[in-house]
Amino acid sequence: IKYCPGLKSIRYDLLCPEGLVRALLIFTSKIEPPIYKARPVSSNKLHTLTVKLPPKGTRHYRPYVVGGILRNINFTEFSCKTFIDLQDKLHMNICRKRTLAAIGTHDLDACEGPFTYELVPKKDIAFVPLNQTKVVTGEEFLDFYADDRNLGKHLHVIEKYDAFPIIYDKNRNVCSLPPVINSEKTKISTSTRNVFIDITATDLTKAHIVLDTLTAMFSQYCDVPYEFEPVKIVYETDAHPGETVPTMESRRIHVSQDQVNTLLGIDLSIDEIVRLAKKMSLGAEVGKSIDSKGTSGVYIDIPSTRHDVLHPVDVIEDIGIAYGYNRIPKVFPKMGTVAQPRVVNKISDLVRRELALCGYYEVLAFSLCSEDENSTWLRRKADNPKPVRLLNPKTFEFQVMRTTLISGLLKTVAHSKSQKLPIKIFEVGDVVFQDKSVPERQCRTRRRVGALWAAKTSGFENIHGVLDRIMLMFEIKRTNKGNSEGFQFIASDDPVMFPGRCADVFYKGARIGLVGVVHPEVLAKFDIIYPCSMLELDLDPFE
């Protein structure tokens, strides 16, 4: 079943048609928001679910559980399907593929409380899993589901342990092996009248949200609509003091008129705020003033279906939605600010323009590349300088953050075989390399310019001319070695360049880049048939 794709992804109460229809009926004032009531069962008659996770004081890998009961429910084929469907959606969504929480639902007439939640050695487990006909033992379990397309992907939660979590009923019948599967014995069908829900979790908040959502949505099919029966959770561990859930209690917060109007930029009366909040299924009544300005406010009762409400701004957004964003009058902030571009970007733009005026085409390579492209193909050592390496790339194309613009320019030439010669290209971009001396990030970013000339002959003098042009534009004169004012051109032997055809560029006493004829072995790696000359310079020193 698919619904409106534009819904807020954290409105778990709108993931099923029951909730969606209910919200729309309330919004259009056709019905009142429901009030959820616990079945009148004395507390010593409640079903219990006891957490027996050994030993006391050690943390289990799935320490929490909650449970609840829907009595005298009337399933139809449709609602039975939406019930399963909602569980799937919650599993995918808030439960993060069952890692944070996992739901088990059971026919309560096929099992019997009290229930226990235990960690059971594999060898002691044997039951018929849901939709199977044969008993599967704990030892067989991982192999049995390894190739299952839907359930196999949840095995990683339990596979590294010798003992699996199990929910047992009074008679030691397995109800579920969370987070993978329930038992066939307790399977839900359209004839099921009483439903027991268990939710095991690593995140108790999420378990509560899931339980509240299921209870709120499907208690509407009970003989007494919106009635539920709580379950008493008893911990024999120290993970939690124990609780009786669900409570389905609403939370009351106070929102002032001023808060609403100053966030939305409108002028709503208290009555309007109350009316709009109610349209959004929130309880609302006029409340006394709480803020220092003495403006009046509204008490908002947030139902147990709205765990997404964390702060009064969430309520104010709902009021804004009910009012209609497109009705809010536009104003323009009255602020006198003076714009300031970044110097490094201004310098980059000046150099980019200059190179385009010199007849070079600007290219835009990716800043991610392979290890080979960044070092060995350039005849350079892998860790000089040390690149930032990715942990989880999907392809070899993206292994490291580039430490040079050279490979991007060469790759572009390699893909420009049909272009007229000479090919003249440049790029201005950032390169990144590790630097432990940088606090926090431990890497340094440099703005660079790279330019390349490819033709039938190396054309070194053309790239040399580009360098001279850049220096001329920045009014930097060529000086002798030792004079720190200007720039110098000193023969060097970077392995990426042809021996004897490479020079380092020094400015203010520091090496800021290189110029040279690309080594034929490098050209061969990049599948380039023409000689190339190129330069690469740091732009940061020109700031």
């Binding site: 804004g320 571009p341 970007n345 930032v388 993206f398 431990q442």
Partner: protein, 491 residues
């Protein structure tokens, strides 16, 4: 024959053909055609029409026949009345002997007398009529109209004549007809200017249908031309550029400081590039980190928080920033540390990274445009007002806003604009007011609000330039011809 002579003829006759001219001047037709072409280039001096004519012409061998008689006639003439040995006859006839002998034999003009030793070739008839030569003479004189087709075919087979298709020009006076020719110049030269001769010469008409020579200049990249326009708009609106030249970011600034919970799907390895080396960062600003940990796990500042176990190790993980909002967070934090709060407008346009499956519209890295305004008492009305101003500068006047969800803004709005070309509303960006859970732990005053919006740079560029595949726009596989011929970006 000269071009002037042709003009002389035309001045007295209304029309003349190139073939007539060739025969009058008794020169080669091609030479006449050349003269006509040069007259045509003068402008409307003459007007011409072209007709194609098929003509019979003699081959070189045919010319020899006209001069000496047909090969068989030559052989026949060399035979004396008493006869001649075949070898001697052949020697006398030279190159035409072999063909001439067999043709004369088959024509019945000569015969072999084998009674004498050696056998002699003797005339069989007294006189022979050389029809072949006569036909050829006819063809030269009158075009061969009286020669039967069968004979023509025969002559063609003997390679004495050939059929040629000739273009015949029919000349008439043009609008600017004159009998004198001034030579047309092709181009204005420095010499003409210095000696003033440009006044007297006429210039060849220019062919405006031809292409010009492509200039040698370079070009800027299309995506960055669009970036320049957006940057200009922000600067015109008083926005200061944020320092975004740091691709590597900690999870803390990319997610935690933005109140994005640690179990959020965006923090999954399927969506975000994490870094193996340097794997994690040393979180600084201890006090602020504590505040963030608290707002996530137990809440505060009027929020109940997410109620989960916040882990420093998770926040310390390095990644490639998934949005430039990480930089906005740092800016707002620094602003909060200022002695006194001052209102600010910030913007950035820079690369962000997503570990996505690549397709025609998704790349692992793309450019994000972001604007942030922070001041006391900003409202959703301010955000809407700013967005109208911003998009108006882009030529977009019709906007609509739709509720959306974003972990760090509340309220959140998707921005839609009406696309006249597509005839529908299309999503163009996201916006919202930063959550108090993000701003208050930084230490910003309680009634200071920050409004923000973001959009991608690639998407509007692709729409603007009609590019379907993002890899035709960015990366090393882009066609340089596209970069070269891409038009100006005028928004």
């Amino acid at each position: 024959m000269s071009a002037e002579e042709i003009l002389q003829i035309l001045s007295s006759e209304s029309s003349v053909t190139s073939t007539e001219l060739a025969s009058r001047f008794n020169c080669d037709h091609q030479k006449v055609v050349g003269a006509i072409k040069s007259l045509e280039s003068l402008g409307d001096v003459i007007s011409t029409k072209i007709e194609t004519v098929k003509q019979w012409k003699l081959t070189e061998e045919g010319e020899i026949v006209v001069k000496n008689g047909s090969h068989e006639y030559v052989v026949f003439s060399l035979v004396p009345s008493e006869g001649i040995p075949q070898a001697a006859l052949m020697k006398a006839a030279g190159s035409v002997g072999k063909v001439g002998f067999s043709k004369a034999m088959s024509a019945g003009w000569i015969s072999m007398d084998k009674s004498s030793q050696p056998p002699l070739v003797k005339k069989k008839v007294d006189t022979a009529k050389d029809n072949v030569k006569d036909y050829l003479v006819d063809i030269v004189g009158t075009g061969g109209s009286s020669v039967p087709d069968k004979e023509k075919a025969d002559l063609k087979k003997r390679k004495l004549v050939q059929e040629v298709v000739e273009k015949v020009y029919i000349l008439e006076k043009g609008e600017n007809f004159s009998t004198s020719i001034t030579k047309a110049e092709t181009d204005l030269t420095a010499e003409m200017i210095s000696n003033g001769s440009w006044k007297d010469v006429s210039f060849k008409p220019y062919n405006f249908d031809a292409l010009g020579i492509s200039p040698e200049g370079g070009t800027l990249h299309p995506l960055l031309k669009v970036r320049a326009e957006y940057r200009q708009i922000f600067l015109e609106m008083g926005f200061t550029e944020m320092p975004t030249n740091n691709y590597v970011e900690s999870s803390f600034w990319n997610f935690d400081s933005l109140f994005q919970p640690q179990q959020h799907p965006a923090r999954d390895a399927h969506d975000t590039f994490f870094i193996s080396d340097p794997h994690s960062t040393h979180l600084m600003n201890d006090e602020y980190v504590k505040q963030v940990a608290e707002i996530h796990s137990v809440g505060g500042f009027g929020s109940q928080g997410y109620g989960y176990d916040w882990k420093t190790e998770e926040a310390a993980k390095n990644l490639l920033r998934t949005h430039t909002t990480a930089v906005s967070a740092r800016m707002l934090y620094n602003l909060a540390k200022q002695k006194e709060f001052t209102p600010q407008k910030y913007f950035s346009i820079d690369r962000v990274f997503r570990n996505e499956t690549l397709d025609a519209t998704h790349l692992a890295e793309f450019h994000q445009i972001e604007g942030v305004i922070v001041d006391y008492g900003l409202t959703l009305g301010d955000l809407i007002g700013v967005l109208y101003q911003f998009f108006k500068k882009l030529g977009i006047e019709k906007l609509r806003f739709k509720p959306a969800y974003n972990p760090y803004t509340e309220p959140s709005m998707e921005i839609f604009s009406y696309h006249a070309g597509l005839g529908k509303w299309v999503e163009i960006g996201n916006s919202g007011i930063f959550r108090p859970e993000m701003l208050l732990p930084m230490g910003l005053p309680e009634n200071v609000k920050a409004i923000a919006w973001g959009l991608s740079l690639e998407r509007p560029t692709m729409i603007k330039y009609g590019i379907d595949n993002i890899r035709d726009l960015v990366g090393h596989k882009v066609n340089l011809k596209m970069v070269k011929e891409n038009p100006l970006c005028r928004i």
